[in-house]
């Protein structure tokens, strides 16, 4: 049982490839079902966003699994040949696959580190997989863990705290001047895209009153309707400035629209209440001399960009902290996966020896029909205690070695000594225990094909 990931992301593939590979939500379920119909593929989840297409899967064999998933990706997108696809793909298994998923969920692998969308997208992908029953014990646990790791990273680091877009940086700065944006008034002068975006962010953070002015009066009226604000005639906006806590300027004018004198007057009229001015226009529309006016805080596009750069750098620093957390969590996850391998072995061992005991006891009792009920119980008890004593040490050792590096070797030895990998009715029972609900048809077909071991055939005859 191996966890693998095959996929491509913004780091390995250009947008032309990514957009062709993306799986629309409506087809996700069908694609997942098909994925799990490949032989050797036990569990699967498909994460498809505009920046990445990745298939996480639990497979019997790593190499074969890689091949199957690659095949699946090429099949899903008939417009892409395997040759076109392969150079952009990456493959991971085991701890690296888990680590990759954790990093993706925590937005450490995102184009903008720390963005929060990816977690939602992963949750959606997981839900689709759950709905189509293509996940099992391993995948469920790993994905749930990935989600909790992402949450931990977000609360314990500052990775998502700092603004990394110019329009959002404006909101962040506003919050250092006004602790509460409710009841604040923003005046929008001109209607550049970035200014509109910033205004939207401000409204989302509580700004109640929006006043808008543009050179074309009708445009201002239209925008005012859109933002739920009021339009102000362009030639009067300077008189209106005093009523605005935040002034956002972005016009196409080639000269300064707002001078230091205007701002000075506005601040005075506001009885020195601070004012936040943002000039997103190039060339600038607010005279830089405004910097010298007390209680007026002017930021131009470069200041905002500078802030964004700083925040990005800070996010990268925080990301290092997050990477350490991911590493920690991967280790615990790997431990769990290892123990998962031991548990079915112990179950199988128990079942196997119980079957043997049952068969032998039945055989003996069939030859001794004259025994009293008490004597029969005695015989059964004897067999049980011998069997229990025999396997006791093995069980204890297996449990003890779960987390040691020789753990897999012990499991392997136990499986061979008791020929646990040979199918018997009991073995099938184990497989339903470890496997997902998906794709086990193929396995049972294999076990049917193989000849039953001689020992197990005896009880059948005896019965």
């Amino acid at each position: 049982m191996h966890l693998i990931v095959v996929g491509l992301s913004h780091k390995t593939a250009p947008v032309e490839i990514r957009e062709r590979l993306a799986v629309p939500e409506s087809r996700l379920g069908e694609a997942l079902t098909r994925l799990c119909s490949y032989s050797g593929v036990k569990e699967g989840i498909l994460l498809s966003t505009c920046n990445r297409v990745e298939v996480y899967s639990v497979v019997d064999d790593i190499e074969a699994g890689y091949g199957r998933i690659q095949e699946f990706l090429a099949d899903t997108h008939l417009s892409l040949s395997s040759e076109q696809l392969t150079p952009h793909l990456y493959w991971h298994t085991g701890g690296r696959a888990i680590g990759h998923l954790f990093r993706v969920a925590a937005s450490l692998d995102s184009m903008i580190i720390g963005e929060s969308q990816i977690l939602g997208q992963l949750k959606d992908a997981f839900e689709v997989a759950l709905a189509h029953k293509t996940t099992g014990v391993i995948m469920n646990k790993v994905v749930k863990k990935a989600i909790s790791v992402a949450k931990r990273v977000r609360t314990e680091t500052k990775i998502s705290e700092m603004a990394v877009s110019v329009s959002y940086a404006a909101v962040e700065l506003a919050k250092k001047i006004f602790s509460n944006l409710h009841e604040r008034t923003v005046l929008l002068v001109g209607a550049g895209e970035m200014a509109k975006l910033a205004a939207r962010h401000l409204i989302a953070h509580g700004v109640r009153h929006v006043r808008i002015t543009t050179r074309t009066p009708q445009h201002a009226v239209d925008l005012a309707a859109k933002f739920g604000g009021t339009a102000v005639p362009f030639d009067q906006f300077k008189d209106d400035m005093a009523s605005a806590d935040i002034v956002l300027v972005s016009t196409g004018a080639a000269h300064y629209l707002v001078g230091a004198e205007d701002v000075h007057r506005a601040v005075e009229e506001r009885m020195n209440r601070p004012m936040f001015l943002i000039d997103i226009s190039v060339p600038r529309n607010i005279d830089p001399a405004v910097r010298h006016v007390d209680n007026a805080f002017l930021f131009d596009i470069d200041d905002l960009k500078h802030r964004v750069e700083q925040n990005r750098a800070e996010r990268v620093q925080e990301a290092e902290k997050a990477e350490r957390m991911v590493l920690e969590e991967v280790t615990t996850m790997l431990d769990w996966m290892k123990s998962l391998e031991v548990t079915p072995t112990i179950v199988a061992l128990r079942n196997r020896v119980d079957d043997m005991k049952r068969a032998e006891v039945d055989k003996v009792l069939a030859r001794l029909p004259h025994l009293s009920h008490q004597d029969r119980e005695l015989v059964e008890g004897l067999a049980s205690s011998i069997v229990n004593k025999l396997i006791h040490r093995t069980m204890v050792t297996l449990k003890a070695e779960v987390n040691s590096s020789s753990g897999p070797a012990f499991v392997e030895a136990a499986r061979r000594f008791f020929s646990l990998d040979r199918p018997s009715p009991s073995v099938q029972q184990i497989e339903t225990y470890t496997e997902s609900s998906c794709c086990h048809g193929e396995n049972s077909a294999e076990s049917d094909a193989e000849d039953p071991a001689p020992e197990t055939s005896i009880p059948k005859q005896a019965r």
């Binding site: 500052k158 700065l173 919050k175 250092k176 001047i177 006004f178 602790s179 509460n180 005075e268 506001r270 009885m271 020195n272 209440r273 601070p274 910097r291 007390d294 209680n295 805080f297 930021f299 200041d303 500078h306 802030r307 700083q310």
Partner: protein, 263 residues
């Protein structure tokens, strides 16, 4: 017992000060919790010490200046704890806790002199308590003013450093400044009035124009003007911050006047 508690308090405030100053310089928020915990522990032991002292001293003996300073230090921490609980502005601790430490250390350094005047009435108790409460108000206003000026400077010069990210919004600081003066001013007024009354009983005159009284009156007039200016002609924000920092100098000079009078 009280002495032990004072020592413990002093040590705890010292550690909290160091921790809060380190918090100021480091990006991590982890230190704030440690600092807050230590401050809280210090506050508890300080409270115990003050209660023991209150029970100990016969109620007729007027408080010494050293005791008043200790009370002042306790009030500063109390205000910090209240503001912290309401607004979670940890950085306030980096400014307030050192101040509390300084006043507590001064309290310990000053000789335990019994005031030269033995007033017949308990008005001196009121005088000391009210004046100290007023002083606490002006001290908080001073801290808010200093923080305001730093944040104003950082925003103007566009230096988005650690301090910038930790200091609260300008309007919060301005509001804190205003509230502290609005609360502190009437308390100081009452403190001065009760002081004058006890002086009248002790010496037969309300005012004797010693440095303490002179500076107290200067302080009172100054804050009166500051408050009036804020309410009428908009002396708020940066100007208010500057004025409260200057006003605090008057407060300190008044306290120096008290020490001179007592020694």
């Amino acid at each position: 017992m009280a002495a032990v508690c004072f020592m413990v308090t002093m040590v705890l405030y010292f550690v909290a000060t160091v921790s809060f100053l380190a918090y100021l310089l480091r990006r991590s928020e982890a230190l704030s919790k440690v600092s807050l915990g230590i401050t809280g522990a210090g506050f508890v032991s300080h409270t115990i010490a003050l209660v023991i002292r209150m029970v100990d001293v016969s109620s007729s003996a007027p408080p010494s200046f050293s005791e008043a300073l200790s009370f002042f230090s306790w009030m500063i921490i109390l205000v910090f704890v209240v503001v912290e609980l309401r607004h979670q502005i940890h950085v306030l601790g980096s400014f307030m806790v050192p101040l509390a430490l300084v006043s507590l250390v001064s309290a310990a350094a000053l000789p335990e002199t019994v005031p030269t005047l033995q007033p017949v009435f308990k008005t001196l108790w009121f005088h000391v308590t009210l004046s100290m409460l007023g002083t606490v108000g002006f001290t908080v206003a001073f801290v808010a003013g200093v923080m305001y000026l730093i944040q104003d400077r950082l925003l103007k010069s566009k230096r988005f450093n650690v301090l910038y990210s930790k200091l609260p919004a300008l309007d919060f600081l301005d509001h804190l400044n205003q509230q502290s003066i609005v609360l502190g001013f009437p308390l100081l007024t009452l403190g001065i009035v009760t002081g004058a009354i006890s002086a009248q009983f002790a010496r037969g005159s309300y005012v004797s124009w010693n440095p303490e009284q002179t500076w107290a009156l200067v302080t009172w007039v100054f804050y009166f003007v500051v408050l009036l200016g804020r309410l009428t002609v908009g002396w708020r924000a940066k100007r208010a911050a500057y004025l409260t920092v200057i006003g605090f100098a008057c407060v300190i000079l008044t306290l120096v006047g008290v020490v001179l009078k007592e020694t």
